[in-house]
């Protein structure tokens, strides 16, 4: 499985309150929430993002609230993968549980810039930066989690 798209780049400690502000959490309609995704730090994101695009950030992405609306609204906005140096742990498990691909990779998080065209091979964890002609090795998942991802989320894996 591969992802291919244009990068939207952010910094350290992107928290779930800016990914999807709580003032919108009176709705659990993820398509509706996607219209407000990232708006407190990047008001133009929802208008700019295209299906398949990739989000790249630095350390501790998704810190704060447990709201699954955060990874779900990112997924609903069309993002095909999030690359970061590290993920906050609830975001990490939420992303796996709902089937939003995420990859930890220090080098990619440093070198990829906003607007770069990037391809990710999920089987090998190799991230290719087409714009800069560079490749980075991302961390692959343990088998236990690959089984959840391959089942298309936690609930299917439990059936």
């Amino acid at each position: 499985m591969k992802a291919h798209g244009t990068v939207h780049k952010y910094g350290d400690n992107v928290d779930t309150d800016v990914i999807i502000p709580a003032r919108y959490l009176n709705s659990a309609d993820m398509q509706e929430l996607a219209k407000h995704c990232m708006e407190d730090i990047d008001i133009e994101f929802a208008g700019r993002v295209k299906p398949g695009d990739i989000m790249v950030a630095k350390a501790n992405f998704g810190c704060g609230s447990s709201r699954e609306h955060a990874p779900a609204s990112i997924k609903a906005s069309g993002i095909s993968c999030v690359i970061a140096k590290s993920f906050a742990r609830i975001f990490y498990r939420n992303a796996i549980n709902i089937g939003l691909p995420i990859i930890e990779c220090d080098e990619a998080a440093e070198k990829i810039e906003n607007g770069d065209e990037v391809e990710i091979d999920f089987d090998t964890g190799v991230i290719t930066n087409i714009t800069r002609n560079e490749t980075y090795q991302g961390q692959s998942f343990p088998e236990f989690l690959i089984n959840i991802i391959n089942s298309n989320g936690l609930l299917n894996s439990l059936k």
Partner: protein, 420 residues
């Protein structure tokens, strides 16, 4: 190799004699929690997946606390969905307006969490119950759904950081100052994926309210859980609340820790976390003149009776500064009633405060005290992220109930000793 307290609880719930950091396990759950924001997503997933039964009517709890009393039509719809689901499946510990409180203050008060329990909650501050010596962690709605259906969830076994507590807090310094000090020291990802384990000779000087406040903010250092060794204070707290059987777990003497910190309570000073991260803690020698528009006293971090008493101690016979709004929110109905009987509500009203029924409300920018563009609040809450309490260009400063109340009186961020 010895195991930490958290590792031992997870091993026991996974049916294993031993676990190692990084290992992935399926563990049995003693309690599954959701609120009015996260439960609807879990219920939608539950129905979509075609589940038709829950694993236990006693071990699932739903608390309508975030946008309640219903702030708008959509919020009312979300609560209605939870109420109907709880009714259909016979969830016994469903708490609605009138008997609900802020979940993390309510559940310990109701005796729903015991030492040694394995608890998940679709709310990041579920780590609060580590104060009781339970393993308790925040998860998402899909986890909550899986937990409700199967009574199990997956966990990656965490390593741990040990905090050896010594000494006793000085006057005007609180548990909130201790945890802000720790988060500032290790950073907002300083305990990422790890346990924060609190033990040591100074533990006896921390009340259960203190411990609940500290464990509550473990997530603000990125931790999977915060957990306190069980002692006389724990047993005294649960004796008239917990009716189920429980088991006390202790860390092995040869347990390995990634790091060990000594925390001397006698050195802790009133601390304020500046926008926009809880790690931006400063003591009053580095604060200066910061005028405020609002003070919020409450939340799952600091809305318990000791916190309300602390605020009242400052506000008694005083009045808040002109141009400042001060909102006091007792965290549960029991706290509210106790505060009323002790005359604390009268103190607040005479001081010019608004006193609210329990709600998470302003903490997450839901309702009951939203900030306008450019406004600044000092709050006893747990997060000061961009836009957390309202407009993206507003600011939240995190502090103890003493500091929040003193600031409301002075009209700027102030410490209680300035009022002496």
């Amino acid at each position: 190799m010895g195991m930490t307290m958290t590792q031992k609880i997870l091993a026991a719930h996974a049916g294993l004699d031993e676990v190692k950091p990084g290992q992935l396990v399926m563990a049995d759950l003693d309690l599954v929690l959701g609120n009015d924001v996260t439960s609807p997503v879990a219920i939608n997933e539950f129905n979509k997946a075609g589940f038709d039964s829950i694993f236990s009517q006693d071990k699932i709890t739903m608390v309508m606390d975030h946008f309640t009393p219903n702030k708008d039509i959509k919020a009312a719809g979300q609560c209605k969905q939870c109420r109907e689901f709880a009714g259909k499946y016979g969830i016994k510990n469903y708490f609605d307006v009138g008997d609900m409180g802020i979940e993390h203050a309510l559940l310990p008060e109701k005796g729903l969490v015991a030492p040694g329990d394995c608890v998940i909650g679709a709310d990041s501050h579920t780590c609060t119950y580590g104060a009781l010596g339970a393993f308790s962690t925040g998860v998402g709605s899909t986890d909550m759904c899986a937990g409700m259906a199967k009574g199990k969830d997956w966990f990656r076994i965490p390593s741990a950081i040990k905090f050896n507590i010594i000494g006793k807090l000085p006057k005007w310094s609180t548990a909130k100052d201790v945890i802000l000090h720790i988060i500032t020291m290790i950073g907002v990802d300083g305990a990422l994926y790890k346990s924060m384990e609190f033990s040591g000779p100074g533990l006896k000087n921390l009340t259960m309210e203190d411990r609940l406040c500290m464990a509550n903010m473990a997530i603000e250092a990125g931790a999977k859980n915060g957990i306190f060794a069980v002692d006389e204070v724990t047993l005294d707290y649960i004796k008239d609340k917990v009716t189920k059987e429980y088991k006390i777990f202790e860390a092995d003497e040869d347990a390995e820790y990634d790091e060990v910190y000594d925390i001397d309570l006698s050195q802790i000073k009133p601390t304020v976390a500046f926008p926009h991260l809880p790690e931006n803690g400063r003591t009053f020698d580095e604060i200066g003149n910061i005028p405020i528009d609002q003070a919020v006293i409450g939340s799952c971090t600091n809305g318990r009776i000791e916190d309300i008493r602390a605020a009242a101690e400052i506000l008694k016979g005083r009045h808040i500064a002109e141009g400042v709004r001060c909102i006091v929110i007792p965290a549960t109905q029991k706290v509210y009633l106790t505060a009323m009987k002790e005359g604390l509500l009268e103190i607040f009203i005479n001081a010019g405060c608004a006193v609210s029924t329990p709600t998470c409300g302003p903490c997450l920018g839901g309702h009951m005290g939203i900030l306008a563009k450019g406004e600044r609040a000092v709050a006893t809450t747990n997060r000061n992220f961009v836009g957390r309490m309202g407009h993206p260009e507003s600011e939240v400063y995190l502090a103890s109930p003493y500091v929040a109340a003193a600031s409301a009186v002075m009209g700027r961020i102030a410490q209680p000793s300035e009022l002496d």
